[in-house]
């Protein structure tokens, strides 16, 4: 395995801020790492933490949730709920032995294209440092 490990990060971006932010990064020609696979959701509050677990199970090395800054939620309070859920799920995964670097959340507004690129970079760097996700990823043992 001489090839460098290129992590796969699944990002759940809220439709109103972070997705627009990612879009802005693209249209402003800000380079961001191609390791990220984006799933658009209506609100960060829509992200059931089981999505994160499922992504990790299906081959993601890291996950990222991104939503509007506190107070800016299109649905007024969705990101506040998301925040509570996220910290708890992160703590739980950490307890089980999943490196916390794999589980990330950020606030990225529609005008923060550069911040989005930065968040992706930070996330990918973090995941790179801990290596491929080997804990409870689905493997085809005895298939």
């Amino acid at each position: 395995m001489s090839e460098e490990f290129e992590p796969r990060v699944v990002a759940f971006l809220c439709n109103w801020c972070s997705y627009a932010g990612a879009d802005l990064a693209g249209t402003s020609r800000i380079h961001y790492l191609p390791n990220v696979r984006i799933i658009r959701v209506m609100c960060s509050g829509r992200v059931n933490p089981l999505f994160l677990v499922n992504a990790l199970q299906q081959g993601a090395d890291g996950v990222l949730i991104s939503g509007c800054h506190p107070g800016d939620c299109h649905y007024l309070e969705g990101n506040y709920y998301a925040r509570r859920r996220f910290v708890l799920m992160r703590k739980l995964l950490e307890h089980i032995g999943v490196e916390p670097e794999r589980v990330n959340m950020s606030w990225v507004s529609a005008s923060e294209g550069a911040k989005f690129a930065e968040v992706v970079e930070k996330t990918v760097e973090g995941v790179k440092a801990v290596g491929p996700m080997n804990q409870f990823r689905r493997r085809q043992i005895n298939w």
Binding site: Y80, V87, H95, I96, E99
Partner: protein
């Protein structure tokens, strides 16, 4: 400890009430160190009821375990109350049920019993082996007395009681309509040192511990079914559309099952330790729940199952919630 005569009389009295349809309590088991939970409907059955340190099961689970079939056309649903005998930890489950609007406060009659700790079957079997006759037990001050046939043995609390009792913060029912016996003094506390000790391990060590534990799981779902807080009609782990967890048992699916279970109890677990007690594969399930309990306490200063007016943790928020992990 509560007088058994008084307990039966009160239970009988409650069952005789017109607005009560059934009572959940305990009776002597057929063998071993654990009583049998029982659901009775007739006042004359109250003579079988007991309460002593063998009554380990969480009685509040049986309120939500009741199956309600559709009422046949032309019949009225039975809206009479359920009476339930509760220990301290059981009563917290009821509070949390009310918080979550599983049922109304008026739907139940709570017979609270101050508790001096319950036996740990595993600890007792290490001493006596599996015994064919039901054991009896009582507490006297700091000592626990276990009677097996004609043999009687005295134990220190830590030798024979369940771990949850050794760190019990609520030995008295936090909610009750009728209190049976005298309130007892709190004699233990919880410093979560075991959780914190585990936290100091490296991710690799943590995973190798849980990998071994989770790979044992046979997915009998006893931990889910016994849990008073697991009362969804359609559980996410058995749903087929969408199918979040597969039914095959391997380390991946087993881990995800346990993550889901612990996650869905975050901020709801009332620490009755039933999940760990029932596990036939001896998985320390409670450790996961305790981790969540500790985090919830530290981050949100929240303790479930104490206040019926409280809001469920994850259905509420505070703009000042901790943000240190967010980029």
């Amino acid at each position: 400890m509560v007088n058994q005569e008084e307990l039966r009389n009160k239970a009988k009295e409650v069952l005789e009430r017109e607005d009560v349809r059934r009572l959940i309590g305990w009776k002597r088991g057929t063998y071993g160190f654990e009583a049998a939970p029982c659901v009775i409907e007739k006042p004359e059955e109250a003579v079988n009821l007991i309460f002593d340190p063998t009554c380990v099961q969480n009685s509040a689970s049986f309120i939500v375990l009741e199956e309600k079939l559709p009422v046949p056309r032309g019949q009225e649903p039975d809206t009479r109350k359920i009476a339930v005998m509760v220990k301290g930890c059981d009563s917290r489950a009821i509070v949390q049920h009310i918080v979550e609007k599983a049922y109304d406060r008026d739907d139940i009659v709570i017979l609270g019993i101050p508790c001096t700790g319950v036996l740990d079957r595993r600890k007792a079997e290490k001493v006596f082996g599996i015994i064919e006759k039901p054991a009896e037990a009582s507490t006297e001050g700091d000592k626990v007395i276990v009677k097996v046939g004609n043999e009687q043995k005295e134990f220190e609390r830590s030798e024979i009681l369940m771990d949850k009792c050794l760190r019990c913060r609520h030995p008295n029912p936090v909610i009750s309509d009728i209190l049976l016996g005298e309130e007892v003094e709190k004699w233990a506390d919880d410093d979560f040192s075991d959780v914190q000790e585990f936290e100091s391990k490296s991710p690799k060590d943590k995973w190798s511990f849980w990998e071994e534990q989770f790979s044992k799981c046979i997915r009998c779902y006893a931990c889910r079914n016994v849990c008073p807080m697991c009362y969804c009609i359609d559980c996410v782990v058995t749903k087929l559309r969408p199918q979040w967890t597969r039914r095959s048992t391997d380390i991946s699916e087993n881990t995800v099952y346990h993550i889901q279970r612990a996650w869905h109890l975050a901020g709801r677990c009332i620490e009755c330790m039933e999940c760990e007690r029932v596990c036939p594969m001896n998985i320390p399930i409670m450790t996961l729940n305790r981790k969540m309990t500790l985090e919830v306490k530290q981050m949100f200063d929240y303790e479930p199952g104490l206040d019926v007016e409280a809001k469920p943790l994850l259905a509420s928020y505070n703009p000042q919630d901790p943000e240190e992990y967010i980029m």
